[in-house]
């Protein structure tokens, strides 16, 4: 099994994406999808330096939905900020101490932060202990950090078990 699917998640994604691309679940495509889902990871064996394991898949789905919701709601906020006078904005940098480890979870956290309103990840410290974030309107620094850690870092930590 491990030889056939060195990275199971990848194979699943590839299988799904192939069917999505072709918008078809015809038998021919299923065969082809399966073939590619096995073949491509085999071909690219060793090119994935950041393996991850999803400990809690359901939580991951929940997390994705939550982020999606945040993106939508937050964007209206941004809309107001963009349209309104920018002088009132109080931008600033944040340094968020990281509890999660691993390249992939950190990347995911940084991406989430960037997509959700008011914050954009800027840099990860070389020891991967700090995430630098730029906030569009920074009112309470510690509150913001706490909010981010609680809302996004915590679930991720659980999902990946890191």
């Amino acid at each position: 099994m491990h030889i056939l699917f060195p990275m199971p998640w990848q194979s699943i994604v590839l299988f799904t994406v192939w069917l999505l691309l072709n918008e078809s679940i015809a038998p021919g495509h299923l065969v082809l999808a399966a073939f590619l889902a096995i073949g491509i990871p085999q071909l690219l064996r060793g090119t994935q330096d950041h393996p991850f394991r999803i400990q809690k898949p359901m939580l991951a789905v929940m997390y994705a939905l939550k982020v999606l919701g945040d993106i939508v709601s937050a964007n209206f906020e941004v809309a107001v900020q963009v349209l309104g006078p920018s002088k009132r904005l109080q931008p600033g940098f944040l340094a968020i101490p990281l509890d999660i480890t691993g390249d992939f979870p950190i990347t995911l956290l940084a991406s989430t932060i960037s997509l959700t309103p008011g914050t954009v990840s800027a840099e990860v410290s070389s020891d991967q202990k700090w995430l630098y974030v730029h906030a569009l309107h920074l009112v309470d620094e510690t509150a913001s950090i706490r909010e981010i850690k609680k809302r996004y870092e915590q679930p991720l930590k659980e999902i990946f078990g890191c």
Binding site: L14, W18, G28, T47, D49, V124, S126, Q128
Partner: protein, 933 residues
């Protein structure tokens, strides 16, 4: 065949010495002499008929398209010249064997000499004008080799070049004349041409023909003002001078005039040009000859003078004058060749040719002196020698003509003056060399030459005497035959007696003798008088002219080709504008009748954005990165435009190519200066903008005119046959892999070649890497940001999946091997960017060269597979298969072909980019100072 032998024997003879050179010089000379001797024998064996006025002619086709034949035609005139060429040639071989020193390569000399002989024989024995010209030019070339025989001497090289240039130029004029004659007559056959005299004289090309042919003749025969090359050709070994510059080559011009006499003469133009040129040459040559201290120089100018005399005779309007000319040709050849040889002996035995050093040689070499004095007397026109006879005829004819109308009296007068000078320089040759005190500082003590070195001189002097005393017996038949061949008709009545009684010509002779004596007696005063004039060295003058020509050429060339690419491009573009603007100006209505698409605001805005971005690219072109960004916008909008106008495949390809190009440009920009210096002056900018706008305007106008006109094209065929014949519904793809698969085949080859070429460029590239950006900032230390690396690795399988998707659907929907290949390549590049070269090397080791090779090979094999079925290359094949459960699917050879395309694209793109990337894995060197901004 006998006739061809005359021509071929000397040619064969030119090969003999190359092999005979290994033997001693005598054997070499003898072996060399065999061929011309046989040729002479053949000619002599034909002499009864030839003297009888018969003509031998034989021709075979050589290059009919050019009118060139291999032909031999012998008549009296040719006979006379063949005797001179072969006879004197044999004597020269004998003479040269003794003249040349041990260190001279006698084999090479004889080879050149025989080559020259071949050429001369070819000229006189030719029955085809083109063939005659062929050999005419060959004499120029072989004489170039002969004159420059002592090639380490500057004067030999320069003299040879001058001779080649002047006679070569004349030869080219002759060619033009010959072709004109050919066009008028409709043939190059000599016989036909000779019988078309009236046709030629009456054609309106006659003046051109005449001038061109005479240019050839005059340059070859050293007629004034082209005479200057001959004295300088005296740098040649004396046998060459004796042969070429007295007896044969310079006579080729005379021969030419004689040959064309029936065709070209008889008009006022002929008489005026030929006689005046001859007269001038006669006088100038005779006058200058007197002042030459160099023996060969004296002889050279005397030759010029005598050639002038012959020319003058040919230019006079009596037929008898032509006979006199022929006669003088014979006489001059004999006495002048012997004089040259005598001069050579003197030079050879005394080490000098300077008459100021040479005095009183009579004591040292009385025998040679006797021979020389007889020959020189002949040259002076002393009675009982052959020179006297032809000179008398000459004087007679000068009195008999009316060439210059009421000024015709001038000719005899000037002829007498010329003759007087002739007597004077002949006297000088005799007196100044053999008497006139004792030798001065001669390098060697002179003595008589070897026995056989004198023999040729003896034979020639004997001829002088024989002709001079027994003309009727010795030369009459020959002269008659040659004259009748020249005149192409009856020879006028004449008498070759030694004594014609007391008459005016005799008086003229006497006057010339007396005048000559007086002139020579007063030579000191004359030398002093002449000494006041600077004597221009024609070699220097000529060289200066050539230098000036070269300088002028260099200047013009440097001005036009100044090495500036910008100028070349500008000229190219202006040329494009010029050729296009002419028809466009006639175009009445730019817009055609085809209904146009309505403009929607989105497309309009996009177009405006496109133009703005284009302008921004050039406005910011000095800040290269910004310019590059603007270019990306242009590319993006172009891709969008392709989707707008129903070309999804194009959009995909354009996008992929654009990104790869931008990446490539960035890779390059790292090593190049980041900014372009400001170096175009406003005027240059205006110029460039104008050129660009002109060409852009043309392109835009044509484009508009085209798009608004209806089109009937062959495309319906493709739409109709795409599915049934090509097995695909994406017509564009079917065209690419099937209908016009051969284009694609070439296209991927281009890509492969580009990759090889680029690799070739990169391998030897030595570039310094900047350690910081354009503002001197050091680079970031984070070479491969973690987030980018993580995401890129994650996206790699997806990208590959997408490229498989694009690949497989290409035949029926937008996509195909090329786009799939680019997507794969971009995905790999992304890994290079995000993870680095080292990382890639450890994980994916692809031999890109082999990838290109196998891609091309697959395409090749797919195409050639149809050979098996006896179909042309790239004939496609497809069929539908049913697989239980999975369903129906199509297999097509086109997919195989597309796979070849895919592999080639991946291989080529990666070979370019990855290798360029690898350039920088070596150590970073701080070279900020190299970045001069």
């Amino acid at each position: 065949m006998k006739l061809f032998a005359v021509l071929l024997l000397p040619l064969l003879g030119s090969l003999v010495p190359l092999f005979a050179a290994r033997f001693n010089r005598t054997v070499c000379a003898w072996l060399t002499a065999i061929a011309p001797a046989i040729a002479l024998g053949i000619v002599l064996s034909l002499s009864p008929q030839l003297l009888n006025g018969e003509v031998f002619a034989y021709a075979v086709d050589w290059v009919p398209a050019a009118g060139l034949e291999l032909s031999v035609r012998l008549d009296g005139l040719a006979f006379l010249f063949l005797l001179l060429i072969l006879g004197i040639g044999l004597l020269i071989i004998l003479y040269a064997r003794y003249y040349l020193s041990q260190k001279d390569s006698i084999g090479r000399f004889f080879a050149y000499l025989m080559l020259f002989m071949t050429a001369m024989v070819g000229i006189v024995a030719s029955g085809n004008l083109l063939q005659m010209w062929f050999f005419w030019e060959l004499t120029s070339i072989s004489s170039f080799l002969l004159i420059s025989f002592w090639s380490d001497r500057t004067e030999a090289r320069k003299g040879a070049r001058m001779a080649l240039t002047v006679t070569g130029a004349g030869g080219l004029a002759l060619l033009a004349g010959v072709i004109l004659i050919g066009q008028v007559v409709g043939s190059y056959d000599l016989q036909k041409v000779l019988s078309s005299g009236d046709l030629i004289r009456e054609s309106h090309q006659y003046p051109y023909i005449l001038v061109l042919v005479l240019l050839g003749a005059f340059t070859k025969s050293a007629q004034f003002p082209f005479h200057f090359w001959l004295p300088n050709a005296m740098a040649a070994p004396t046998p060459v001078s004796a042969y070429l510059h007295s007896a044969t080559m310079v006579k080729a011009g005379i021969f030419l005039m004689a040959r064309f006499y029936p065709v070209l003469s008889g008009t006022d133009m002929w008489f005026m040009i030929v006689s005046i040129t001859g007269l001038c040459t006669l006088l100038v040559g005779a006058y200058i000859a007197l002042f030459k201290h160099d023996l060969k120089g004296l002889l050279a100018y005397s030759t010029i003078s005598h050639l002038g005399l012959i020319t003058l005779l040919l230019g006079m309007d009596t037929r008898m004058a032509a006979v006199a000319a022929i006669f003088h040709i014979i006489n001059h050849a004999t006495f002048k060749a012997s004089l040259f040889m005598a001069a050579g002996i003197i030079d050879h035995e005394s080490g000098s040719r300077d008459m100021r050093q040479l005095n009183g040689l009579w004591k040292y070499m009385p025998y040679t002196a006797t021979l020389a004095i007889i020959a020189a007397s002949s040259m002076a026109g002393v009675p009982l020698l052959n020179g006297f006879l032809s000179k008398e005829m000459f004087f007679t004819e000068t009195l008999d003509q009316g060439t210059l109308g009421s000024l015709s009296w001038a000719i005899p007068v000037l002829a007498t003056i010329g003759a007087a000078f002739s007597v004077a320089y002949s006297l000088r040759f005799m007196h100044d060399v053999f008497f006139n005190g004792e030798p001065v500082n001669l390098p060697k003590t002179p003595h008589e030459p070897p026995r056989y070195m004198k023999l040729p001189v003896e034979i020639l002097v004997a001829c002088c005497l024989a002709v001079g005393m027994l003309p009727g017996l010795v030369v009459l038949d020959l002269l008659n035959a040659a004259s009748s061949a020249t005149l192409q008709g009856n020879v006028p009545e004449y008498n070759l007696a030694i004594w014609h009684g007391f008459n005016i010509p005799l008086l003229m002779s006497a006057l010339a003798m007396v005048g000559g004596l007086i002139i020579y007696y007063n030579r000191k005063k004359l030398f002093h008088f002449q000494g006041q004039f600077p004597e221009p060295d024609s070699k220097l003058v000529f060289e200066a002219w050539v230098q000036a020509l070269v300088r002028a050429a260099s200047a013009v060339h440097g001005w036009i080709e100044n090495g500036s690419l910008q100028r070349y491009l500008a000229i190219f573009l202006l040329m494009t504008f010029a050729v296009s603007v002419v028809p466009l100006m006639q175009l009445q209505e730019t817009a055609g009748l085809r209904s146009q698409l309505p403009l929607d605001y989105a497309s309009g805005t996009a177009a405006v954005l496109l133009m703005l971005a284009a302008f921004a690219t050039i406005i910011w072109h000095r800040q290269r990165l910004i310019s590059l960004l603007m270019l990306s916008v242009v590319g993006l909008i172009v891709s969008v435009a392709f989707t707008r106008f129903s070309a999804p495949d194009l959009a995909l390809t354009q996008l992929a190519v654009e990104v790869v190009t931008v990446i490539l440009l960035m890779l390059a920009l790292f090593f190049l200066p980041k900014r372009t210096p400001k170096e175009s002056a406003p005027r240059r900018l205006v110029r460039d903008i104008s050129i660009s706008a002109l060409v852009g305007g043309i392109v835009g106008t044509v484009n508009y005119a085209l798009m608004t006109r209806p089109l009937e094209s062959i495309s319906d065929f493709f739409v109709a046959n795409s599915k049934t014949g090509g097995g695909g519904t994406n017509v564009v793809n079917v065209i690419l892999v099937d209908f016009r698969g051969f284009d694609t085949f070439g296209e991927i080859t281009v890509l492969g070649i580009a990759a090889l070429g680029i690799y070739k460029l990169i391998v030897r590239m030595r570039l310094y890497m900047p350690s910081g950006d354009e503002f001197g900032r050091h680079w970031s230390t984070d070479s491969h940001p973690m987030v980018l690396s993580t995401i890129s690795q994650m996206l790699l399988p997806l990208a590959l999946l997408v490229s498989v998707y694009i690949f497989l659907r290409g035949h029926n929907e937008p996509g195909g091997g090329f786009i799939a290949g680019l997507i794969t390549a971009v995905a790999i590049i992304q890994q290079y960017i995000a993870n680095g070269v080292e990382w890639m090397k450890e994980r994916i080791s692809l031999n890109y060269q082999a990838l290109i090779g196998s891609g091309l090979l697959i395409a090749f094999v797919t195409g050639a597979g149809s050979f098996v079925f006896d179909r042309p290359f790239l004939t496609s094949w497809f069929d539908y298969f049913k697989w239980p459960w999975v369903g129906k699917f199509e297999l097509a050879s086109a997919m195989m072909f597309d796979l070849g395309v895919y592999l080639t694209v991946v291989g080529a793109t990666m070979m370019i980019l990855a290798n360029l990337g690898k350039l920088t894995t070596s150590e970073r060197v701080d070279t900020r100072e190299l970045e001069n901004l």
